[in-house]
């Protein structure tokens, strides 16, 4: 994504190239162009652009992709943490 880059070396994205069947779904669904198709296999060409939305893993028919996808906002993470600590009920005011 032009003009924007977030923290480096943090994404949990993993691609198992041996399992890849070259269907191209990952590069079709990735909004950050993290994948490219080379030599009949997908390849990670832009790892740090991954925002862990999980679209690639969800749509990989060969289950060759793993990523810890989930709510990525600070409020969501604080609420998640408070819920784990059984602190209080979480308000609905979120996207």
């Amino acid at each position: 994504m032009k003009g924007f880059s977030y923290l480096r070396n943090v994404a949990t994205l993993e691609l198992n190239r041996d399992a890849c069947i070259d269907c191209g779904r990952c590069s079709e669904v990735c909004p950050h162009q993290v994948f490219s198709l080379e030599e009949n296999k997908a390849r990670l060409i832009n790892f740090d652009a991954c925002m862990e939305c999980g679209a690639c893993a969800k749509n990989c028919p060969a289950a060759a992709i793993r990523v810890d996808a989930g709510v990525g906002c600070a409020t969501g993470l604080i609420n998640e943490w408070l819920r784990e600590q059984n602190f209080y009920r979480v308000s609905k005011e979120c996207c």
């Binding site: 003009g3 949990t12 909004p31 162009q33 925002m51 679209a55 810890d68």
Partner: protein
């Protein structure tokens, strides 16, 4: 079969504006189901979207003069991207909605066109297995649908690339400010009382102004100037706007007259408040990862907490020692 207009009425625009300001935003929806845009034949394309009314409005208004089917999923009034993240814009709902709506009887073909940002919730191969419908992820923005449909359903690289323009960022600010309103008002009241009790009402007010500026610097200025503020971390970006704010406020509001502990506390706590609100904006962006936000929070939250507590201690110590 419900028929869909492709021009937005004043009420639709007003509704969108209200939603942007957080007024009835969580209850702004249309009934799920199959809708007809124009007079679609059994060969016409089928587009899929969410039942957040703003999403539905944006999609239908991009389809003027066309004959297509619109399958609206039950996402409980949440947009495609957030609903896909939660899984409500998902495989299960899509499969169920295809069944309930009788789509298989309305069209001859077995193809669905989905928004790219719906992909985190939908497993295309599962939908194919369970319903026979093949999925193509068309574009990120509904505005690209006409070009997609006219170009033989080919996704160009531009249609697949996210943007986060000044305009796209600015429409997100109102709801950020509205959501910050309640905690901000409470904190401002506490600050005023504390400031007034320690030094006097005028100092109480100065404290409140400094604080309100910090909230705006973090929740509005940092998002607006996002790509131009140094740093990758949102907390750092927020600290930068907060520091800029308190420096300007110090110079303009006669900071030379502040006590040393009060000055130190202002320069320590104001950037921390702005950093907190800027960090909160990660939830509205389209490029921050969960792992990145977690990493930032682990470092930033304790730092902000310490800055605020230390500031309070300094002010108290300056008063009583």
């Amino acid at each position: 079969m419900p028929q869909v207009a492709t021009t937005l009425a004043f009420a639709d625009r007003l509704g969108a504006w209200k939603a942007r300001w957080g007024i009835g935003r969580l209850n702004y929806l249309v009934p799920p189901g199959l809708y007809a845009v124009g007079a679609p034949t059994p060969d016409a394309p089928v587009l899929v979207t969410a039942n957040y009314k703003m999403s539905y409005d944006i999609v239908r208004s991009s389809l003027t003069g066309r004959n297509v089917w619109l399958l609206v999923l039950e996402t409980y009034g949440i947009n495609v991207w957030c609903a896909a993240g939660k899984g409500t814009f998902g495989t299960e709902e899509l499969v169920r909605r295809i069944g309930i709506s009788g789509l298989a009887g309305a069209v001859m073909h077995r193809r669905l066109i989905l928004p790219i940002l719906g992909a985190p919730g939908v497993a295309a191969h599962e939908v194919k297995k369970q319903t026979g419908f093949t999925i193509r992820y068309a574009a990120i923005r509904a505005g690209d649908l006409p070009a997609y449909l006219d170009n033989g359903m080919v996704t160009t690289p531009a249609m697949q690339e996210l943007t986060f323009t000044l305009r796209e960022r600015s429409v997100l600010i109102p709801v950020e400010l509205v959501q910050a309103l309640k905690p901000t008002a409470l904190t401002a009241a506490v600050l005023f009382i504390a400031g007034a009790a320690l030094k006097g009402p005028a100092d109480g007010l100065t404290t409140v102004y400094a604080y309100l500026g910090a909230v705006v610097a973090g929740a509005a200025i940092a998002p607006l100037l996002l790509p131009w503020i140094p740093g990758r971390s949102f907390a750092v970006k927020g600290a930068v706007t907060g520091l800029t704010w308190i420096t300007a406020f110090y110079l303009l509001a006669g900071g030379q007259g502040w006590s040393v502990p009060a000055t130190a506390a202002a320069f320590l706590s104001i950037p921390a408040v702005s950093a907190f609100y800027a960090l909160n904006f990660t939830g509205c962006t389209n490029y921050t990862s969960r792992s990145g936000v977690k990493k930032e929070m682990r470092i930033a939250l304790p730092t902000m907490g310490c800055a605020v507590i230390f500031s309070a201690l300094m002010v108290l110590a300056g008063r009583f020692l």
